[in-house]
Symmetry: C2
Subunit: 395 residues, 2 copies
């Protein structure tokens, strides 16, 4: 779908490039002759494609050492550039910036975070992100080999390269419309952008609690309540970039006014703020969670919260039938006091034939999930080729 607006020739060329790169990923070093046999491409087409990939830095052509040469003209071996897949993720959360980096082998090189005040401009947040990126892996990250940056932001986003919507709900800070431009200038690579909670869903389905699972529902109970859907292994965005808004499903008809403007949203009963409002003596979430073993009122409150969460999840599960449901955010640290009532409500409101398929898991990636998901977005939407496939990364 990302290539709907590519012309047929550009699509054809991209297809050929992917063919060549896939063979190099699968087989390792290959000669042009071997590539020709494996891809079925004509000599002219193949030489043209390979030349462009070498020019772009994605593929490296090396001549074997003299001892390994056969007679005649030495045969060049083509390989993927070892740094070709390095990618960085930045999550611009409401009051913090999280960054993470992953290498070509999809291993997390490092991650780090910094909290900040509410008044920071986008320029200042980008500066902060750049400093954090610079500190990753003890400063050993080669920015020159970066192939793409994935970025998570608060609020609805239509697609990975679309200008973020500025009619953000929930009183979130208005997005700097030029954020991708600002980041592109700073890092000199293509920038892909999505909602950070949706990206956390993709991260859980890539490296976290549901690693490798194709159909995942992720719900985060934090200062806000939101989530994301992974469908067939890919992030689901919805027609208007508004997929995964579980926090604004009505959980209590006629209930409290939500920051989104309507009443009784799940967020009005299952956010950190809602819990602390209902138990004001606790002070903060850590203190509240600490009272759970000894305070029956706190447990009853979480029981009610969990019941509403499970009821909403059951509606979505009846509609979608995910393989795994992941519950994250700070409130998930309550453990069984929250998960038990969620499971009970899920079971009560799922159609009986679906109940054996319930697989509720606790998120494992924590606050760095958004940044890791941003990397997954880069790897997913521009696998390895990233900087070499401008059509994909600018769409």
């Amino acid at each position: 779908m990302a290539h709907d607006h590519e012309g047929p020739l550009a699509r054809l060329r991209r297809g050929h490039e992917e063919l060549v790169l896939r063979q190099l990923r699968t087989h390792g070093p290959l000669s042009r002759g071997e590539l020709g046999r494996l891809t079925g491409l004509s000599r002219t087409t193949l030489y043209d494609i390979v030349a462009a990939l070498v020019d772009g830095g994605a593929v490296v052509a090396t001549v074997p050492a003299a001892a390994e040469r056969r007679r005649g003209r030495p045969v060049e071996a083509l390989t993927l550039h070892r740094d070709a897949g390095q990618a960085i993720g930045i999550d611009f959360a409401r009051r913090a910036v999280h960054v993470a980096a992953v290498n070509v082998a999809h291993e997390v090189i490092g991650s780090t975070s910094a909290a900040h005040g509410a008044g920071l401009t986008w320029e200042e947040r980008v500066d902060l992100a750049a400093r954090l990126v610079g500190s990753l892996a003890g400063g050993t990250l080669r920015l020159g080999s970066l192939s793409g940056i994935g970025v998570g932001v608060v609020g609805p986003v239509r697609g990975p390269a679309a200008t973020p919507r500025t009619d953000s709900p929930s009183g979130a800070p208005r997005l700097h419309e030029d954020l991708p431009v600002l980041l592109g200038k700073r890092f000199g690579v293509p920038v892909l952008l999505d909602n950070n909670t949706r990206l956390a869903a993709l991260a859980e389905a890539t490296w976290g609690a549901a690693a490798g699972v194709q159909d995942v529902l992720y719900l985060r109970l934090s200062h806000g309540v939101g989530g994301g859907l992974v469908v067939g292994g890919a992030l689901h965005r919805g027609a208007h970039g508004l997929s995964g808004e579980f926090g604004h499903i009505t959980a209590e008809p006629g209930g409290r006014r939500c920051s989104c403007g309507k009443d009784g949203c799940l967020e009005t009963v299952a956010s950190i703020g809602a819990v602390l409002d209902a138990q004001p003596t606790a002070g903060d979430l850590d203190a509240f969670l600490a009272t759970l073993p000894t305070d029956p009122a706190a447990r009853r409150l979480l029981d009610d919260v969990g019941t509403r969460v499970g009821t909403v999840l059951a509606s979505v599960c009846n509609a979608l039938g995910p393989a795994v449901t992941v519950l994250g955010g700070e409130l998930a640290e309550a453990g069984p006091a929250l998960f038990d009532p969620v499971e009970r409500a899920l079971s009560a409101h799922l159609m009986p034939v679906s109940r054996p398929g319930i697989d509720l898991r606790r998120a494992t990636l924590g606050e760095v999930g958004g940044a890791l998901g941003a990397i997954a977005l880069v790897l997913h939407d521009s696998p390895l080729l990233t900087r070499y496939h401008t059509p994909k990364s600018v769409e």
Copy 2:
């Protein structure tokens, strides 16, 4: 997604075939030389691919009439076979069989239906389907050119080629486990199978109210209440074949026991039976619908039904953000008496930022939707058939 389990070589070959067929569809008749330039395939690969397509009947090679020949050896022109894409859909509904046929141009050649009693065996239902197929297009349908049959059945189905589940909810007749075998024997072509309500969703997104729309939510209010999701142009099945069970989302907590085994499902308030139970003097649905202009109680009842339908739809829309929501089934014939309260409730329970995106439409394909969706499934999922069909036009 449909080809996840193909080996890399089969995938490569399929890619080449699609390349060749796409050029023939786009440009009309072409010589092998022209095809080589347009596809970038090597001479050897191209001749091999073309030979297989001609053998399979998808492509026809013709020599131009003498007058049109230039000097030297005549150049063969390659074209798509005009009958190559004929496909049939059969919907085995609870008490009826619906069939439809579509030609290579994606035009519906014909459709027909027959009602039957509850006691029919699967053998008898297949016989009935075969007679209906034989009667299509005045008996002119060339079964020899059939490239596949899509089949809709009641109850959950995991995937297009999976054995249907027999733990069907809603007291539906247990599926004959050998149905695909039975049909394959009768028609001698590959059979793809899915839930018929989900297929109706795919049909509305292919030929109906949401033709060409990539993200569609379809809800059918009939004797049962169910639906389907089209995500990114493809049918969404869910991890366990249980996607689209909107009829079993709790609409009335603590409400009536549903045939699925749990309480207060949307089906217990918004099925034809539920409406007639609430207004028993009407007798049947047509009589009930006829009373709407004059009977305020009937309108109030539909207002309540519509409100519950809209509330459930809003939950799913907040989760998924579809581009278009289609409402079908016999109850949709009530028109504004149903659609107005649905729209009001949708608007009340959608997060405000999503409300401008509401696009609620009435289904247009009626009872033949399941059979047409079965054809869309064949055009979409069958590797055999995608050989003869542009993926673009069905995706």
